[in-house]
Amino acid sequence: MSDDKITLEIDGRVCTAAPGEMIIAVADREGIVIPRFCYHEKLSIAANCRMCLVEAEQGGRPFPKPIPACATPVGEGMKVLTRSKKALDAQRGTMEFLLINHPLDCPICDQGGECELQDVSMGYGEDVSRFSERKRVVKDEDLGPLIATEMTRCIHCTRCVRFGAEVAGLRELGATGRGEDMRIGTFVGQSMAHELSGNIIDLCPVGALTSKPYRFTARAWELTSDEGIAPHDGVGSNLQLHIRGGQVMRVHPRDNEAVNECWISDRDRFSYEGLNSPERLKAPMLKRDGEWQEVDWQEALHAAVDLLKAPGPDQLGVLVSPSATLEEQFLLQRLVRALGSDHIDTRLRQLDFSAAAADPRLPWLGVPIAELEQQQAALLIGSDIRQEQPLLAHRLRKAALSGATIALLNPYEVDLNHRSIQLRSAPQALDRDLRALLKLLGRPPVAGPIAEPDERHQRIADALTRAGQAGKGLVLLGALAENAPVYGLVRALAAEVAAAAGCQLGCLAPAANSVGSWCAGSLPHRLPGGAAPARPGLDARAMLTDPRQGYLLWGLEPDRDLADPILAMSALRAAKQVVACTAFRSPALDAVADVLLPISAFAETAGTFVNTEARWQRFQGAVPPPGDSRPGWKVLRVLGTMMELPGFAQNSAREVHDELASQCRDLTPDNQLRGSMPATDLSSATPQGAELFRLGNVPIYATDPLVRRASALQRTPLAEQLAVSLHPEDAAALGLADGQLARVVQVATNGECIEVNAPVVIDDRIAVGCARIPAGVEGSGELGPIMGPVQISKAGD
């Protein structure tokens, strides 16, 4: 029977194990230390370092040779000795071989103090080296701005190679050559272009692969460590923040199988660099006669209070970053509601709010993160998943590798590292394919245009149906759908597809605390705990199309983080009072705000993020905010108190959290849509005549103010610049060639017409009729709606 347990003895201790388990896994569980370098529980077994050799006997018969604990399955009645003379001799032998060609440069090695080789050599190494030949020297490769190499130190464990092939799905690193000339590297010296590449730094047991930004900045033993939660995507990866002198020196993953396993994305690992950006706002500032002046908190707060009170109840709009902590969002909504309106929103890049009445109670992933990898089929609608949610992409990849069908419906074919079925439609036409799927799933037709179903639609419908019957099917909505001008309709059709196939519907939370907004009530139609206010306030878009007299901006840059930068900037410029609470200065904020209040950024405040699976993750401030900046929740508490509003007397972030948590006791994740199919008017979103449709993706390193200032990430190949990507057909029709400069003309919602020049990239993965022009990047702030009609022509014509 496969569920039988096996009993064995390791170093005299009786252990139970599952059949097929390896000795090392059982020993690890029992806390019995077996040294190893190549073994890693998330990677395939290589059994090549030979460090974990142990002595064993089975059925009274000793194995003739020491056996590798990582690659030897347990057997009933097996006796394993990990520290017998024979075992230790084998381990010492391996240790000696590993050290003969390893440089003695520990004093200048970044890994010093946290090196697996160093640690194990303390236990197994010998005092005197018997090796008197010349040591091997290996030439280094430049793997790009994130990873530093010192390949002479490499011990050829191949963890990094296996990570690339098995986890990243990108086999850039290899082991070329043979024998003692075997080298780990790309062979041709290229930059690693992968969103999870930094994990090889953790995997490398020695100092061969280290963090380039961290390099030579600190020694491991000078660092203290604090726990954190990553602030960039819906995963909320658990982090270990390494700190010296009140500064985050580097970021490592903290194991949490349910959330991030032992990985983190490069965005979560290297964004800390943005904390030290020269653009950090370190003191409150007040604009006087058009000039910015540093002022003390007292003066700034009084100014802010006056500015916030001036517009009157209905005339204040509050736009909040979806990465703001739960505590900040909770106090912000309390503030605006106490002032008499519900005009608060965190859905900054959303264009279509027409179906707000149908919004679910607490939109979430639909399944726990860990269950993504068990799905048998998933349809992703409008998601460049690897860019949006690197670790969720990793989970879906695992599902795909175990045979799941992963299908995508997107305005452009996305770059994936596994088998998939990709449908491509312009953003305003995503509904057509969904209607086609519904037809194949046997649902009565939903009014509206329909794509001609082809073999791919059929395979997707079949896979979803089969997976649905097994209870392992998922329909997911991503950021490209959420930002599309037909989001309400697409979401409703997606829900229909999910229902028809028996699958779960899920929403990918675009930011670290998007789900938190539904808990905290920092939305115009939700109160804390999920209840609806009597009359919903204005949403993020309505606050700008129907401009307010005053605004409070929290943690955002209006030209980068909002759906329609031109519309936003024009509304903000025209506003009489603009209070910006921000960790960074930016020209756009400088231009529109009247007062700048410096608030804490990532790692500098206590708080809570609610991730995409609706998991509440609390964290403490690990470093003090720089200069005079203060944790956001404290700033809000003081503002509330100064305005003599009720409910701002908390003494700690914890108290704020607890208060909200008690209001959310009955709020459970729920993706059920309310009401009927929305009748979305697509006319304004449909390109006229020669127009193309702008499809604005938010590139992986452009999502928020912090990551946009992380310099190493911005130098990687994944950091996108402003460009116009066109399908070859469209490019040909426009007479544009790759690399040529195009003129981009967009009409903002308020009728303002803008013109920007950007280079053309020809890419046959883009849907015909679309122009992919990223948002959130340098230069994109001069443009109009993230998605909508656009005119492209040759610049200078």
Binding site: A47, R50, T94, I100, A175, R178
Partner: protein, 429 residues
């Protein structure tokens, strides 16, 4: 004195050199009779495997594992593709027999592979031939074409419903691919790095499917065993050491040669058949089974018979049957350095002890040869070899270690002399 028999793998050798490799020649010695009988009568594969067990045929590639037993491990009735793979990656220094099988009697290998496929349920076979063997490959491919044309291999052979397709796959210069799992990796288009076992190839081999890998000589022996019976084959040799076997007698002998003679033939007869030690010199040492096995002093060999068990008693192994003769007056330090360089060069680089240790051994030996040896080097060599042997995924680690340990055991004084005096004890001559 024993005679060169050429009754099994070399049974076409006496024919006209121009045509002895052809289908017609092979038919003239009884070729394909067994395969055609199988296609006609479809005997129970277990019967055939039993015949092989009776014959006591042991793997001729070097490990000497009983072939019948190996075949019986295959999950023959399990659905799904299974494979038979022939290991013609002949590269063990001293061994040059499989090359001649393919040059002189390629059809017998094809027939042996077809029969093996039938016995283990494999409808596809690959013959992995080392890349340098252009001429033997051309011969084998030619034979393959003939066999396809004659309907002896292919689909639904003679309407029997039995399929057997056979392809050649060329290596490109890596000794390690002679290790069966490295060979599979290489067939899969990868570096030839041995796989950790379990799983064994019979469970998960080529492309993850059950696979049996046999040496060229082993497979080529099969048709004759079925023709003449397992008992006949066994009786050619000794109990547990069935059959005639090919021996490559090379090194310092008058007439280096390949011999097909009964297992159990006294070594002294073998030496005589090769014309004795070259230049009339005295016999100093013998490496009796390919460069990986321990060296045996000449006087011990002169008392030993050439079969698996006798050579084991003499402290070495029959291996691939490559008998390397070393004459008196040869510097054993130099011979060992040559062997050490071979293993350092051919280590795949995967396991730490072999990757790091083989190069270390070679460098120390070079240093000794250059007159810069130190007294402690000999213990170091012995100890380092001991730390490689038995500690690696495949047997290359052992192969690198055994010569070092045996050379030091038998010829330590030569090493000591070189270290002490800075020149070889024997090279004065």
């Amino acid at each position: 004195m024993a005679e060169n028999q050429n009754t099994v793998c070399f049974r076409t050798l006496h024919l006209d050199a121009k045509v002895r490799h052809t289908l017609e020649s092979y038919r003239s010695v009884g070729g394909y009779v067994q395969w055609e009988r199988i296609l006609r009568e479809k005997p129970d594969p277990d019967q055939l495997i039993d015949e092989l067990k009776t014959s006591a045929l042991r793997g001729r590639g070097g490990a000497g594992f009983p072939t019948g037993l190996k075949w019986s491990f295959m999950p023959r009735t399990k659905p799904g593709q299974k494979y038979i793979v022939c290991n013609s990656d002949e590269g063990e220094p001293g061994t040059c027999k499989d090359r001649d099988i393919m040059r002189y009697n390629p059809h017998q290998l094809i027939e042996g592979m077809a029969i093996a496929g039938y016995c283990i349920g494999a409808t596809v076979g690959y013959n992995y031939i080392r890349g340098e063997f252009y001429e033997p490959t051309a011969r084998f491919d030619g034979a393959l074409e003939e066999a396809y044309a004659a309907g002896l291999i292919g689909k639904n052979l003679f309407g029997s419903g039995i399929d057997f397709d056979l392809y050649t796959h060329l290596g490109a210069g890596a000794y390690i691919c002679g290790e069966e799992t490295a060979l599979l990796e290489s067939l899969e288009g990868k570096k030839g790095q041995p796989r950790f076992k379990p799983p064994f190839p019979a469970q998960a081999g080529l492309y993850g499917m059950p696979t049996t890998i046999n040496n060229t000589e082993t497979l080529a022996s099969v048709p004759v065993i079925l023709e003449k019976s397992g008992k006949w084959f066994l009786e050619q040799g000794k109990p547990n050491n069935g059959g005639p076997k090919l021996f490559s007698v090379t090194g310092q002998v008058e007439r280096p040669c390949n011999l097909e003679i009964p297992l159990g033939t006294p070594f002294k007869d073998v030496l005589e058949m090769a014309g004795g030690v070259s230049g009339g010199r005295a016999l100093k040492a013998v490496i009796p089974g390919g460069s990986s096995v321990p060296v045996v002093p000449g006087d011990v060999m002169m008392r030993t018979d050439m079969d698996y068990d006798s050579i084991a008693k003499a402290g070495s192994m029959l291996g691939s049957g490559a008998v390397i003769i070393i004459a008196e007056g040869t510097c054993m330090v130099k011979v060992l350095a040559n062997l050490a360089h071979f293993y350092a060069h051919e280590s795949c680089g995967q396991c730490t002890p072999c990757r790091e240790g083989t190069g270390w051994l070679a460098r120390v030996l070079d240093r000794i040869l250059a007159g810069n040896g130190r007294p402690q080097d000999l213990d170091l060599l012995d100890n380092v070899a001991g730390r490689i042997g038995g500690r690696t995924i495949c047997a290359l680690g052992d192969a690198a270690a055994m010569p070092v340990q045996s050379f030091l055991k038998h010829y330590r004084s030569e090493f000591e002399h070189l270290i002490e005096h800075g020149r070889s004890l024997v090279e004065a001559a």
